[in-house]
Amino acid sequence: MKLSHAVLYTVLAAGLVAGCSRRPKNITPLPSSERVGGGTTGLTPNTRPVGGGGELGDGGRAGRLPTGPGTAGTDLPGSTTSTPLGTDSTPTINKPTTDLSQPDRAKWETWPQDPDALRAAIVYFDLDKSVVRRADTGNVAKIADYLKSHPGYMVKLDGHADERGTEEYNRALGERRALSVRESLLNLGVSQESVVTATFGEDRPAELGHNEAAWSKNRRVEPVVLIPPGATR
């Protein structure tokens, strides 16, 4: 099936390119489709970055802007508003909580990071859960102890999920895990100013396998030490 697609698209692309030398003024040309016939596999249209002109500003690339219909058609001779919301309401819980805000980004962003100092304190999680397991509270305590014995240091908690689940859900799940460990640290007396969180979702696995042995290693929060300027390690 793939092969027939491949043949088809190669044939198709070749045929199309042959007939597309003229472009209307109102279409910003993309790099011409050199992809056709050039590939050795010919499986799909190649993708290549836009050449030239794109390397501006913050390092992004320019793309083709939308244009009006570049293809003109001529007659041949002879010829919302939103709907009501659900009724089952779950009011937002406005539980007054202590301020859990994260410290200012500018404070820690340029600090050197040490991912190894607390490697023995990685916190693991059950499937689709963000609650710190009783067995892992010792690791949370290790992080708290480290911060107490290193005044001025901070910890970044990198939350991760296994590859199951949808991508954005996993990103949020990794963040919820990091925040869960953060809250446990705060409960142990750690200052909220010394803990920040991050998430990598499923994109940075500790193990690359596609089985429970790997997944259980990937559902985790890794503490990364942030070293303040001028501190000796």
């Binding site: 320019a62 293809t71 001529t74 919302t80 819980i93």
Partner: protein
């Protein structure tokens, strides 16, 4: 059962061989797909109604070269048409490619000429898409897809020193052609969402070491940060008028829904407490935001006024619902339902809530401008690929982007 098993491009070898069969067999037979065979396995809160699957519009196409026919087939299939013999067909499209593409659409049996047009300018492929747009507009009254584009995330198949899946943001025509790589950060770039009018995109990138949100101007390539707070800055979604961005931030100590202006100013927190948030989207009138929340339990879809207010659960009893996308006509919300932890179904629910309908295997749906075709991501062999699904007929085509795992489609409109 699996959609992939039903994808039988049996006519393709013939096409590739240059044989134009007047009696071309149907290229896609997914119309027969339904989950009714295993209805007992589903919760009663999600009802699959096989009877709601519409038959495709049968069209006989003749006179075109194979490569033109293939483009026509892709476009018309994902808009609910199906190639058929002249005897069976409701419409006949007779064409020729004489430098430019031209076509004549006739009613059943050739009794009336519905249009006869020639197309000039652009590429031949764009001319074919313009012809398809004309057919769709004439027959159904709705817009075609010819001018639309899709942004997506592509994992490049290599990992950096941190074992990260390097992924970049790409943009292509809606049929997967003319793909353009927009970022080259060797970082995790994800969650692209179009700025209306397809002027640019917003997306998440951890190129700076943290998950941050950027806007990206397509005309200049210039990027500007939208949200770079401590904690994670995730899942940006631009409002229909393009002035605001809904997103998920953890700066306040919880994973919550926030709205900022497009330049990142004026951040307002919309959810609190147990109503955490992931993958927000806007209603087309800009007044409501739909998002997924665990609400302290399993994820469900919620809505909340974009100006702030009370979050309401949209779907009662539907668990494991994530990744909502609101149709441009405002009528429906497509979303992903996790079945167990390994299977994903694309579902659709009326925007007023109620019973959802499973329409396909896959995840992360994004509506096309016609409010009937969805771009979805589909897992196979631990990789993801992109697929266009015509919801009423369940016909589909895969985008020819098979190198690298492609996911998180966002259909520009």
């Amino acid at each position: 059962m699996k959609l992939s098993a039903l994808c039988s491009p049996s006519a393709l070898p013939a096409l590739a061989g240059g044989l134009l069969l007047a009696l071309a067999p149907p290229l896609t037979t997914a119309a027969a797909e339904s989950d009714t065979g295993s209805a007992g396995a589903f919760k009663i809160d999600v009802v699959t109604k096989a009877g709601q699957i519409q038959p495709p519009v049968l069209i006989n196409v003749s006179g075109f070269a194979p490569e033109v026919l293939s483009v026509l087939d892709f476009h018309l299939t994902v808009c609910g048409f199906k190639f058929a013999s002249a005897e069976q067909a409701d419409y006949q499209l007779k064409g020729k490619v004489d430098g430019n593409v031209s076509g004549t659409l006739l009613s059943k049996g050739g009794q009336a000429t519905l249009f006869a047009r020639a197309f000039s300018g652009g590429t031949r492929r764009s001319q074919v898409h313009a012809l398809a747009d004309e057919v769709i507009k004439t027959v159904t009254g709705s817009t075609g897809l010819g001018q639309s584009r899709i942004a997506f995330r592509r994992v490049l198949g290599k990992r950096n020193l941190h074992n990260e899946a390097i992924s970049e943001i790409f943009v292509s025509d809606f049929d997967g052609f003319e793909p353009v790589q927009l970022t080259e950060d060797a970082a995790i770039n994800a969650s692209p969402d179009w700025i209306p009018g397809m002027r640019g995109l917003v997306y998440m990138s951890n190129r700076g070491g943290n998950s941050d949100i950027y806007s990206h101007d397509l005309s200049t390539g210039a990027r500007a940060p939208v949200a770079r707070y401590s904690g994670s800055n995730l899942s940006p979604s631009v409002s229909p008028k393009g002035h605001q961005v809904a997103m998920v931030l953890s700066r306040g100590g919880g994973v919550h829904l926030w709205v900022t202006n497009l330049d990142g100013s004026g951040a307002v927190q919309l959810t609190r407490g147990q109503i955490d948030a992931s993958s927000p989207c806007w209603s087309p009138n800009g007044q409501t935001i739909c998002f997924a929340s665990t609400g302290g339990g399993r994820p469900s879809l919620y809505t909340i006024p974009a100006s702030g207010g009370t979050a309401r659960k949209l779907t009662t009893g539907i668990i494991n619902a994530t990744e909502p996308d609101w149709s441009p006509d405002g009528k429906a919300i497509a979303f992903t339902r996790m079945v167990g932890r390994d299977n994903f179904r694309v579902c659709i629910v009326d925007a007023s809530g109620g019973v959802a309908q499973e329409v396909a295997d896959g995840e992360d749906p994004s509506w096309g401008p016609n409010s009937r075709t969805l771009a979805i991501s589909f897992r196979k062999n631990n990789e993801r690929t992109l697929r266009l699904l015509d919801v009423p007929t369940r016909q589909y085509k895969d985008l020819p982007l098979n190198s690298g795992s492609c996911s998180q489609p966002s259909w520009g409109r």
